[in-house]
């Protein structure tokens, strides 16, 4: 083959390499999103689904669209309240995950190399069993007759405190969310921490930093990219979670995810469900943008790299 010919096939190959994933993303991501955005302006059909976006009569073709869904979403306090509650739950989940994952990731990083891979495997081991089963397991752990709850209440009674209910409370929802999302915080943090040069720690100690100051001054700022990645991976799905609050939260624990699934499955109001989903998406995009923008400015962030 001539040189020019082989260059041409190279270019074709490269275009295929970039083009195929782009096409897949367009078909599987952009198109559904557009359909969803369109749905927010449509009317619900009588038995669920969507009414046609246009109709034609003797005068010609008419669009049959509305802003009603947005008005309804913005107008009723309950939706905003649930939105706010979801935000609080997701934020708490992210914070608790970070607090639990950080020491764990550090422990794995500093473990002897022989057992390090095993520890990482243990972190992702829960993924091997079904998600719903794992959440139902929490239901029985936190249930009123469980060993855990009775033990806790026994202990509280000892101090003269009243028995507490765990299941179907915000506490149960957050415990479930933290449990489900913890690996998503541990893995990026671990990936970040194991790229830290151990010599940095020696250098910091050598130059007069106590172990705590070494952590605050070197380890923590250098791990910001890992923390941000983990936080996004936890916060976004936690914000949209619906199975966990459904199973562990009871009536009072509903989150946006429940609201959306209710609109689609029970109320059969697809347009309004889509509206809430679009609002959620916009909000998530905003949060992701905000977090990466802040992280870029922090010491270990991308604005400082290379």
């Amino acid at each position: 083959m001539t040189r020019a010919g082989s260059l041409q096939t190279e270019a074709v190959k490269r275009r295929l390499l970039v083009g195929l994933p782009t096409l897949v993303l367009l078909v599987l991501f952009a198109a559904p999103t557009l359909i969803m955005v369109l749905a927010t302006f449509q009317f619900p059909d009588d038995f669920g689904g969507l009414a046609p976006a246009w109709y034609s009569d003797s005068d010609g073709v008419h669009l049959d669209l509305t802003l009603e869904n947005y008005e309804r979403f913005a107008g009723e306090a309950i939706y905003l309240k649930i939105f706010w509650r979801s935000l609080v739950y997701a934020t708490l989940t992210t914070l608790f995950c970070a607090a639990l994952a950080y020491p764990l990731a550090m422990f794995i990083t500093r473990a002897p190399s022989r057992i390090r891979d095993l520890l990482v495997l243990l972190v992702i081991l829960p993924f091997w069993s079904n998600f719903l089963i794992r959440v139902y397991a929490w239901m029985s752990i936190l249930g009123p007759r469980s060993l855990f709850t009775e033990g806790l209440n026994g202990l509280l009674g000892w101090f003269g405190l009243g028995p507490v209910t765990l299941l179907f409370t915000p506490f149960a929802v957050i415990v479930g969310l933290v449990y489900v999302h913890l690996p998503f915080m541990v893995l990026p943090l671990y990936a970040n921490l194991c790229r830290h040069d151990p010599a940095w720690l020696d250098a910091a100690r050598d130059l007069g930093a106590s172990p705590w100051k070494t952590f605050v001054g070197v380890t923590l700022p250098m791990s910001v990219p890992g923390l941000v990645a983990g936080s996004l991976l936890v916060f976004i799905p936690a914000l949209g979670a619906f199975a966990v609050p459904d199973i562990l939260g009871g009536a009072q624990g509903a989150m946006i995810g429940n609201l959306i699934s209710d609109q689609f499955l029970s109320a059969r109001d697809w347009p309004f469900g889509s509206t809430i989903a679009v609002a959620l998406t916009l909000f998530v995009v905003f949060i992701a943008w905000l977090m990466t923008a802040v992280a870029r400015r922090l010491p270990g962030g991308a604005a400082h790299a290379r």
Binding site: D202, D206, L207, G208
Partner: protein
Amino acid sequence: MSLLEMRHITRRFDDDTVAVDDLSLSIQPGEFFTLLGPSGCGKTTLLRMIAGFDDPDAGSLLLDGEELAGVPPEQRPVHTVFQSYALFPHMSVAENVAFPLRMASVRRAEREQRTREALEQVRLADFAHRRPDQLSGGQRQRVAVARALVNRPRLLLLDEPLAALDLKMREQMQIELISLQMEVGITFVYVTHDQGEALALSDRLAVMNNGRVEQVGDPSDVYEFPDTRFVADFIGTCNLLDGSVGQSETGLVYLDVPGLGPLGVASDASPRTGAPGTLAVRPEKVRIDARIEPATHENRLEGTVHDQLYLGDVTVYRIEITDGQLVEAMLPNTSARGERFFDFGDQVQLAWRHDAGRLLAD
């Protein structure tokens, strides 16, 4: 009083590796002291114990007469320049250099002032706001030195700080390190496996082997008067001629070297006749010519040129005396046009003074 006193330091790893073996050394205030030894001889292990990252299994370390055991690294007035430099990538050059001052809670104005001075000392004032990854290897090395010196430690440890630099840069940095050390007057303990570096930089040096000190002294002492076979061989090149002690007179011992006959060597020791011994003589001390007049106080041998190694400034000739017994002689290339003095197979004579050689007991 010596600044740092190491007494019978031993450090073992996994029972069978003895990285540092009953080592004792004392380091004087203000000196440039070098630990020289081959890879794996325990230099880094020793340095880590001085810095406080590791504890000796036995023995004690005293700084200014005070025991260091139990003092964590951050509380030792000892700073280290690491081989990898270990600069903090998320901090600018100035922030890196200011780090020890910040840890010591030095006030901001003074901190900035001293950081600037330290950067000027290593000629990096213009690079204060760069990130470490925007610097060349030599510049990073200078940042690491400035950072380790800025808070005026009692002792500066340098672990092969020039190993990652190319030859030209290394030579330049050697000169800079010497003048910097004189300027700041801080005691340096420098680790290297490069004998040239050790000779060029040090006030005193210790040659290490297998976790032990083989010899301590100033560079010319160690070079000219190696105490052991290892030192003679490790520093520079050396002819090592094995034989047994023959007759001896005051200040002079004759060593019977098989194939070469008795060779005189100045020695204050009076070893037992028949004891094994080695004569060490540096190639540059050996004269070589077509004919050399016999002289007292000299050893004289005859042989043929076996091969020669042209090194530009000097040529090393290897002369075969008897079957297989080779002696190296080094000759500066002083001829105007670079012609060689001798060729393969030439008959030549060698000579060196009795006091140019050294009798090694082991």
